[in-house]
């Protein structure tokens, strides 16, 4: 069963939550996944920490630095994720991270282990489209891992259509110029026009809006333009300096999802 397709077919206003593996403590990964889903998260994005995360703002970068200092790395993560499907049997799970650690681990071995533990898809922002098609697509397909691509306000229609053809999961609409957790929201009218322009393309894949969505108001507004939204930095901030990270994650998600 395709967990991603099933989630989009059976739900509306999907909440995709991002958190960094190994943050705030090394072994929070699985308890956090479980707490997020129990509170109502519809998709999970687990961040693989990297020393130089170019597409991320200070909050996710900070959580990555802490996670690496805690001892997180891909072998440790895959060991932890052996408990993933016992904790969250139905929820789509994506791994998000940067290409270099994946390359060093070995792309094929990375895909094999990700598939083994029940991961559904991958988001590697610095994997260029041309490289993906030439060197990665076949391996991803072999292990039935769905690639998720980003679209920005600057992405041309021709390129959006190409990404839409390649994608078997959802398209990640970056809300405006900037890195994750950006606090300066782009002009609301301009942003609205961008979301509507994408909606009018009648793409075959569902869309989730991400970057800079921090609270219930932002989530609801995004849901007016797409199938759902992605929240990362705001969740990470809610986990800072708390004694019980899973409890904090649960109350954060309930705050977003309350009617």
């Amino acid at each position: 069963m395709d967990r991603i397709k099933h989630a989009f077919a059976s739900k509306t206003n999907l909440l995709n939550t991002y958190f960094t593996a190994g943050y705030p403590r090394l072994h929070d990964t699985i308890p956090l996944a479980k707490a997020l889903v129990e509170a109502g998260a519809d998709i999970l994005e687990i961040g693989m920490p990297f020393s130089d995360p170019l597409a991320d703002g200070p909050i996710i970068q900070g959580s990555s630095t802490v996670a690496l200092a805690n001892g997180m790395n891909l072998p440790v993560l895959f060991e932890q994720l052996k408990g993933l499907r016992a904790a969250v049997p139905e929820t789509p799970v994506l791994l998000m991270g940067y290409l270099n650690p994946v390359m060093q681990f070995g792309v094929e071995e990375f895909c094999r282990q990700a598939a083994d533990v029940g991961v559904d898809g991958l988001i590697l922002p610095d994997l260029p489209l041309a490289e993906y098609e030439e060197f990665y697509q076949e391996t991803f397909k072999k292990y039935d891992l769905k690639a998720v691509f980003l679209i920005t306000p600057q992405t041309s229609e021709e390129r959006i259509r190409r990404l839409d053809r390649l994608s078997e999961a959802f398209l990640y609409l970056v809300s405006g110029p900037g890195t994750t957790g950006g606090t300066t929201l782009p002009d609301a009218v301009v942003q609205e026009q961008y979301f509507e322009r994408i909606a009018a393309l009648k793409l075959r894949n569902p869309r989730l809006i991400g970057f800079g969505i921090a609270d219930k108001a932002g989530f609801d507004r995004a849901c007016g333009h797409a199938e759902g939204a992605i929240i990362g930095s705001a969740l990470i901030r809610a986990l800072e300096d708390v004694a019980d990270a899973p409890a904090a994650a649960e109350s954060f998600v309930r705050g977003i999802k309350q009617a």
Binding site: F50, D52, L54, A55, N100, F105, T152, T155, S156, G182
Partner: protein, 400 residues
């Protein structure tokens, strides 16, 4: 991957052998693509070339002299010439690149300039051309580098640039580069990013190499005049990211009889755990949008290099240099902090020239070349030592 027909030319996708490419997130794709599709046409435009050549001559002070260093030659029993990039305006070769890139930015319609800097030389060179053209300039610099290169911070501010502190990660050049890239992601339309070395996503390595290639273009003419041959036996240059070496090697790349010597910073010693010798310690990976050799741990996390010189402590090298080393077209030599300091004293006393600490690494390699009395050796004297005076004063015991 199709092999390159000339060492100078990357493939259409920016590869030198297995190295290069453009590994950028979608947010950067339009910026990089705009540059990639336009830089060659703009640089080939006669009006662009006329303006560039006039600025290089009248503002930068080119051609820079090729000076025969007779006392240094006597000491090493070979014939040594110094390519005096230290005499460029702002005191280093960095301005060859920034003059060209600001003209490019203007033709792309950009109204704001950003840059990263390590030692501050590239930041100063960028702030300088922004003042010249009246464009706002933001320079990202690691918090630690701002402390150890305070005079350059002051120069940038005096030139009207805003210097922003990179507080993330190790707070040095790689983090300043990350912050500059993030700024470009946040300002994709009006901003041009002037990268200071032959690093980053395609087309930057090629763009910067072309702009620095004026160094070896002049060398050939000057050598012909002084030695009767355009070709030396050795060209020696220091490598951090590798822009001055790329410029010094460029017009000799396809002349196999010229030996190209790239000198890296060994810090406290290659295997001391405090080194920046990427050709030895690095393995292939992705850094700042380029596949190249970089220093990383077994899990692909980028590690922090060390060199006393703030201009050589970059954890990668440009993809061109990674390729030249891999195929044996260039040879790498690693020089420690102390060997570089000795070379500072030597050039100062023998020739009356105080070199930058980065440049001193190239000079320190002279004894390891195996050059004979009939050989012609060109050292690219990439920068002057004024910015390093504080470091030199602290290490006076090693300099006397």
């Amino acid at each position: 991957m199709t092999p390159t027909t000339s060492y100078q030319q990357p493939t259409a996708r920016g590869y030198y052998g297995q190295f290069g490419g453009a590994f950028v997130p979608e947010m950067l794709y339009p910026n990089v693509e705009e540059l990639r599709t336009q830089y060659l046409a703009i640089m080939a435009d006669p009006a662009f070339q006329a303006e560039l050549q006039a600025l290089l001559r009248d503002y930068v002070g080119r051609p820079t002299p090729l000076f025969e260093a007779k006392r240094l030659s006597a000491k090493y029993n070979t014939r040594i010439f110094l390519k005096r990039e230290d005499l460029c305006h702002t005191g280093a070769h960095k301005i060859n690149n920034t003059v060209g890139q600001i003209l490019l930015a203007q033709r792309l319609g950009k109204t704001r300039i950003i840059a990263e800097t390590g030692a501050g030389q590239h930041g100063v060179a960028t702030a300088t051309v922004c003042a010249l053209m009246g464009l706002p300039c933001v320079v990202y610099m690691g918090a630690i580098d701002m402390e150890r290169q305070a005079p350059n911070v002051a120069r940038m501010r005096l030139l009207g640039a805003e210097v922003r502190r990179a507080e993330s990660g190790s707070q040095t050049l790689k983090d300043a580069t990350n912050e500059a890239i993030r700024d470009w992601i946040a300002n994709p339309v009006d901003t041009h990013y002037i990268i200071g070395s032959v690093v980053g996503p395609h087309p930057y390595p090629d763009l910067v190499a072309r702009l620095q290639s004026v160094i070896s273009e002049e060398m050939r003419k000057q050598l012909l005049e002084k030695t009767g041959s355009e070709l030396p036996d050795f060209v020696v240059a220091c490598v951090g990211g590798g822009s001055n070496a790329a410029g010094a090697f460029y017009h000799f790349l396809d002349e196999p009889e010229v030996r190209l010597i790239a000198v890296e910073a060994a810090g406290h010693g290659i295997h001391s755990g405090h080194s920046a010798a990427t050709s030895v310690l690095g393995t292939p990976g992705i850094i700042h949008g380029s596949k190249t050799l970089l220093m990383q741990d077994e899990h692909g996390q980028i590690t922090e290099p060390y060199s006393l010189s703030a201009g050589l402590d970059y954890p990668g090298i440009g993809p061109l240099h990674a390729y030249l080393g891999e195929v044996g077209r260039s040879e790498f030599i690693a020089i420690t902090d102390d060997e570089a300091l000795t070379a500072v004293a030597e050039l100062s006393r023998l020739e009356g020239i105080i070199p930058a600490l980065e440049t001193a690494h190239a000079l320190a390699a002279l004894g390891q070349l195996g050059a004979g009395p009939d050989d012609v050796v060109v050292v690219n004297l990439s920068g002057r030592g004024d910015k390093d005076l504080e470091t030199y004063l602290k290490n006076m015991d090693k300099l006397v």
